[in-house]
Symmetry: C2
Subunit: 474 residues, 2 copies
Amino acid sequence: MIPSSDTPAPPRPRPEAAAIAAVREGLEARFGNRLTTSLAVREQHANTLSWAANQPPDMVFFAHDVDEVAAAVTLCARHGVPVIPYGAGSSFEGHTNAPLGGLCIDVAAMDKVLAVHAEDLDCVVQPGVTRKRLNEHLRDAGLFFPIDPGADASIGGMTSTRASGTNAVRYGTMKDNVLALQVVLPDGRVARTGTRARKSSAGYDLTRLMVGAEGTLGVITEITLKLQGIPEAISAATCPFPTVRAACDATILAIQSGLPVARIELADAAQVQAINLYSKLGLPETPMLFMEFHGTEDGVREQALRFGEIAAELGGGPFEWATAPEHRTQLWQARHDAYWAAMALRPGARTLATDVCVPLSRLAECVEETQRDIAESGLVAPIVGHVGDGNFHVCPVVDPDDADEARRLQGFLERLVDRALAMEGTCTGEHGVGQSKMKYMEREHDAASLDMMRAVKRALDPANIMNPGKIIRL
Amino acid sequence: MIPSSDTPAPPRPRPEAAAIAAVREGLEARFGNRLTTSLAVREQHANTLSWAANQPPDMVFFAHDVDEVAAAVTLCARHGVPVIPYGAGSSFEGHTNAPLGGLCIDVAAMDKVLAVHAEDLDCVVQPGVTRKRLNEHLRDAGLFFPIDPGADASIGGMTSTRASGTNAVRYGTMKDNVLALQVVLPDGRVARTGTRARKSSAGYDLTRLMVGAEGTLGVITEITLKLQGIPEAISAATCPFPTVRAACDATILAIQSGLPVARIELADAAQVQAINLYSKLGLPETPMLFMEFHGTEDGVREQALRFGEIAAELGGGPFEWATAPEHRTQLWQARHDAYWAAMALRPGARTLATDVCVPLSRLAECVEETQRDIAESGLVAPIVGHVGDGNFHVCPVVDPDDADEARRLQGFLERLVDRALAMEGTCTGEHGVGQSKMKYMEREHDAASLDMMRAVKRALDPANIMNPGKIIRL
């Protein structure tokens, strides 16, 4: 297991029992059993997909609207009790752990799509709406929300972690697709951080300050999102390459030449091997790219064919592509199964999903060095990458009871981050910091930037009640 | 003239003469005549394109590198002297005025393109590089920087005002195109707000906090920008429409259907009339759209033809389009001349360029109500719009010596902002707040959001030395 020293205690005391009791009684009086102290519920809300030790909150409140969230935060502010916002619980880095206890506010029931403005290509949703449900809701209007992190995450959580995923190369990340937010501030007041205008120069960008703040500056209670028209046509394609470098070079050439690729995903040879085992396929066990193109019928054909030419120049092939939905699904099946295929490599083992991001020109080098490191560390760790962004995931599959393997894993993770930072990259492209990557913040950011972050946090949450012990050591 | 009550004094005293002298002597000793107190230079740096009264700084320093900027800011911090960053001086809202005097730091000589990373589609520039010079520099590499606010603004200034312009509908605004910044903080320390990774979830988004902060949180000394490959082909098009609404509806349909239009500009009938007079053209004096499409040869042909079909459905036409550079230039000439044509409507008069932005579905209504208001106010004020974003400019042409006209103008400007805000829009889509739009901040943002902005400003610049008296009343 990852040593618990990874999750330092935040610099404020745990609240007194009386403070916890005051919040509990206040919420119970008003909301009855929507405030629970059940251990099972608390543990489930603490930490689902992370390796960090489970640190449950003292209580969980299932909120139904912004007024209830504001009432709960106000009560917590009065008594100095930590507040941990909770959406779908699909984050990876211990974001929802409660190292100081406190109140977890579960917003999953705030799952209404409040408005869809088709002419403006935007919508307003509550934070508990998941991306899949949103896209089901939008389908009849001919619209879609492009950010796809894989998991059926909540929009609130995706906003809080600055999520992105497979479509980001074309449509950007949450940072680029949130127009405005409604937020309950640490003092319980409700703020709207923007309007539905597509752009504004009217003051500090509070929206972007909240996007990626991981619940440390407030609780997001409403999100206004940009939408896209469902493309008239989609083409999908796959192409094996002799090396990771050839696959990356093909990606660079495609993007440089303005090919508006919507998704371009890399699976390394280890990942393809895992997929073959899991899905009983016979793919060539070399690095492979999965692509998707969005546009008109003619446009997506042209894009696919152009990419095929670029791939051939770099020794890739056979290049396969399709526009019919069933054939597209078939081509992408292997990519969709990647996570489960990795898990299946060692039944009973645990996986840890981590991510780093580097400039595109350094991606091949970073992935290849990482592969060597994996081999030298004696680990099993397939790699998949959002290669158009220089972002890749390593998914070590580890025996949780093998202390030596855990030690080797820990060393590998440290080197992975150092490697990305040395290549002008970042310790996380899309998963966020949470607890588990806090220690890397000092490596990635200079002292003056860290002080800026601390100053902002202290200014907006002077009592440090909002998700304490996350992102940055105060 | 716009009453000077528009520009309230910021809540801190003017520095003592001794403090000014200490900064002046310190900089003179080190930099000689790169520190100047010439009145002409000071007035030129205060306020170039705004109607706000000229408020010159006490002195102007021509900085050559980040160390010099840091030295100057450190000195100002020690003595409590205001710092006003200055790039090309092309901002509209009194951003560079010095209501409390202080030191203007002119970074125009920091005009180096420090690095171009063609494979990563990014570059690193100093703040004094102008966008035209950057694009000249990039041309041979087959790259371009898409943000085009019209003026040949400096990249530092464009970053500070969150500028955008004609290409934003396709390529986003400065917010979307700045990867990272180097900033001299109000205490003189130098911070880097990000890396060259295309995306990151590693902590608060300091980059976006600085973009649009108008120099109130620090001096930008280096900018890492996203770039685009120069498209293989460009098509340009124009189309007159019977009404503003028909032009806006055509735009909405095009965007909804996923047509990746690169520029789509509206000129209203008054603007077309002005163009006809100025450029001796015979355009039909009805609302007109100017478009540009970027892509492959086939792609831009398809896009232009599709738009032509949409325009015809909505009663627009004749639709003209071209791909040859000289023909494209000819089609767009009228749009390029718009500002000069407006100026020429009343020789000797002054123009005021203002902007608001509303959701696209409200744009036609907002423009039409604004046109009625212009007529009823007895003003001359052509309108051009970045119609794909819902952003439009009104360019009143006013006799500066006519007090009654100035009064009518003032009332009109107030109503323009109120109209945009009532339609879920913003008081400025791209020009920024500066001094002149400070009074609208309370109308646009709720009290909690304004308090967040104040808290951030106070936390990062507790002595309020950075461009005081801009954006927000403290």
